[in-house]
Subunit: 226 residues, 2 copies
DNA sequence: CGAAAGCTCCCCCGAACGAGGGATGAACTG
DNA sequence: CAGTTCATCCCTCGTTCGGGGGAGCTTTCG
């Protein structure tokens, strides 16, 4: 079914720790079972942390948050049925105090910016070591924000850049699908001239040499999916 | 599957295994510590399997294979310092009987084909469930080949398609980087006409509508990296 | 209110692209 | 040996891109 109660029972240590008052209650939302397993194992190894629920998409994450109201939520950005960013926004809308750490494979800076804007308190790469992870969880739980160093520098690099507008992203996505400007125009019900204007803005904003390059840059930065 | 069932199955197999003493010795090669953690936990939960070594890149995987000669190797395709495909080739060159299962995030069919050609016995998506994974490990250990269903259908879809030649991939990569035909020509020391010929072939082979689309299709299929 | 940002549309024009053709030599393969 | 694939180069020609302008309109926000 949806999110499932975690088999915390397998760890004897956890039972002992249940008596302790300061458990960090954690929700993990990721569509990869293996990665959830890894996080689960990592959390099980920390006596002050407890995994209270898992979710495999954004909707489940929201539901699970309502049910369990965890102290910390580890959230993947790329998930089916409501992505991580939207899930963060939805959760923060209902629970403004929610502390959410974004977990991702790529260091697409736009994703990072969006996640932070949506209210994430931390942004980590999946390639991080266990030590960094538990440190970040404790840090965020203590009320601090934690952004990993390479993410921060990536973000700084593009801070000044304009983000693409919704319309520009729409155009670029259709271009990525192999549509000519004229075809995009018909699909969107606007004139070809307008499409060209949008593409001109996209090329400028992304510092791309041509439309192909623009698509590549946008995909790298997590602006569009292909 | 509920935890209680796992528990029951575990003790049952455990007894049997104690008598037979035939552990499946496993090597895990993946650059993500968290994923290794997940796999490690999964393997630890199977009484007939034992993790004998871990590697975080292709070179380490080869070294570890030489040292431990595992029954099964779980190998990620995308790793720094020698990728999974090359590692498979290298290992199979020394140990033709090696049974290797490829583990990947994407279902780029070309990656799958290359992995199979390099000598992999299985090709799995990281998004698979634990059950499928252990089943596949046992299956491959028993000498069968296992390719997950959606991978197989993806492969079948493009079986008839021509693969791109090395030259065509080179051209396409440079085009993806935002180079015009003329620039690619200079970089490769050939004429622009030749570049256009290569691109024409690429567009035909990938059934792409234009160069931008070709790059997107090639990335999706794992033909080029961006 | 007035400024700013976003979406829309229009012009010109040179460069780049892509669909047609065709051709040659090298290298591998049955 | 003939056949095939690959890489290279050449031609034409219509279409598409993309850079350079300008401009009207609505919405948002201080």
């Amino acid at each position: 079914m949806g999110w499932r109660e975690v088999r915390a029972a397998r760890s004897g240590i956890l039972h002992a720790m249940n008596a302790m008052e300061s458990n960090i209650r954690i929700l993990v939302a990721d569509d990869h079972p293996l990665l959830r397993e890894g996080l689960s194992g990592m959390i099980a190894g920390q006596p002050d942390m407890k995994l209270v629920a898992e979710a495999e998409n954004g909707e489940q994450a929201l539901q699970a948050f309502r049910t369990h109201q965890p102290d910390i939520t580890l959230m993947d950005v790329q998930m089916p049925r409501m992505n991580g960013i939207d899930a963060i926004s939805a959760i923060r809308a209902e629970f403004p105090a929610a502390r959410i750490i974004v977990l991702t494979t790529y260091k697409g800076d736009v994703q990072a910016l969006r996640a932070i804007k949506a209210g994430a308190s931390g942004y980590l790469l999946k390639s991080m070591l266990r030590k960094d992870l538990v440190e970040t969880i404790r840090s965020v739980h203590a009320g601090r924000r934690r952004i990993s160093a390479d993410i921060a520098s990536e973000m700084a690099e593009h801070m000044a850049d304009d983000e693409l507008t919704a319309r520009e992203r729409d155009v670029l996505s259709r271009v990525a699908a192999g549509n000519a400007n004229k075809e995009v125009a018909v699909q969107m019900g606007i004139s070809e001239e307008t499409v060209k204007t949008h593409m001109k803005n996209v090329l400028t904003k992304l510092s791309a040499k041509d439309r192909t390059h623009a698509v590549v840059v946008a995909v790298r930065r997590g602006i569009i999916d292909i």
